[in-house]
């Protein structure tokens, strides 16, 4: 990675990223399941609960390591953070 604008990553980065990947995996599984079991009330409640938790983890991740989403779905500090390395395949 020779790019000038590279954000240093630490052990905490991998820990937070993994937390996010874990909760997102649960949400993905529940979502696909609900697409074929739309009347499972408990699954919907669990999804809504995890969704709230996801929001908190993502917020912390973005505060420390920059935006996950583009086009105004994430906030940016100065200078514009979206273009900062590392990209997902570089870590």
């Amino acid at each position: 990675m020779s790019e000038a604008n590279t954000k240093p990553i630490d052990a905490q980065y991998y820990k937070l990223l993994e937390e996010l990947q874990m909760v997102d995996f649960g949400l993905l599984e529940l979502s696909l399941y609900l697409n074929t079991h739309p009347n499972d009330m408990k699954a919907i409640q669990q999804l809504n609960q995890w969704s709230e938790q996801r929001h908190k983890i993502a917020q912390q991740y973005e505060l420390d390591y920059g935006p996950l989403l583009q086009f105004g779905h994430s906030y940016s500090k100065f200078p514009w953070q979206w273009i900062e390395s590392p990209w997902p395949w570089q870590v």
């Binding site: 990223l17 997102d24 993905l28 074929t36 079991h37 920059g66 989403l69």
Partner: protein
């Protein structure tokens, strides 16, 4: 529309530089049962499938792009530090001559990706059975790829992808039952 999320669906780690394995992984990048074919197949079928199944095709089609990014990451990490000698030894000279280290949509044998890999029959059951078969074929390929490497880090990511094929297959089987049930209900009236 779509949004890109700046993270992988599941971590991809490799424990060594292995251009030979990178070449084999291309089967899941631009091959007939690969992730690109899967994503394009499901997202394209959405426009002629009954409404009850559109959400499922949208979400699984979208997840396939996350898998495509994981495969690309594997290929990138396995080849980025390779010397010319290692590239030659791995049988990648032909690829290197044309593409350097750029990724290109081919299967493991170097055959370029083609739209002919993607079926769209318009018949909901025919399309869903095609999707189930595609998932099962991809699951089998992931098993062969796991067998072809001794890199435990790479195997971990490949096992994750193999399991996803099983879940997708299951969801498509449920979609078949939903459509059948719907047709049976309609016959009553």
């Amino acid at each position: 529309m779509w949004l890109y999320e700046k993270k992988l669906q599941y971590p991809v780690r490799v424990s060594k530089c292995d251009p030979r394995m990178a070449k084999l992984l291309l089967e899941q990048y631009g091959g007939a049962d690969g992730e690109l074919a899967a994503a394009l197949r499901y997202l394209n079928q959405r426009y002629s499938i009954p409404d009850k199944v559109i959400g499922l095709l949208t979400d699984i089609g979208t997840e396939e792009f996350a898998h495509l990014e994981m495969i690309a990451t594997m290929v990138y990490k396995l080849t980025k530090d390779a010397t010319i000698e290692q590239i030659k030894a791995a049988g990648l000279s032909e690829i290197y001559a044309q593409h350097d280290r750029a990724l290109f949509y081919t299967n493991a044998g170097g055959v370029p990706f083609t739209a002919a890999y993607i079926q769209a029959k318009g018949d909901p059951l025919a399309d869903l059975y095609e999707d189930i078969a595609a998932e099962e074929k991809a699951r089998a390929t992931y098993q062969w790829l796991i067998d072809l490497t001794d890199d435990v880090d790479l195997q971990d990511s490949l096992k994750f992808l193999r399991e996803r094929e099983i879940v997708h297959s299951l969801r498509f089987r449920e979609a078949v039952e939903i459509i059948k049930a719907d047709w049976n209900t309609k016959k009553v009236y």
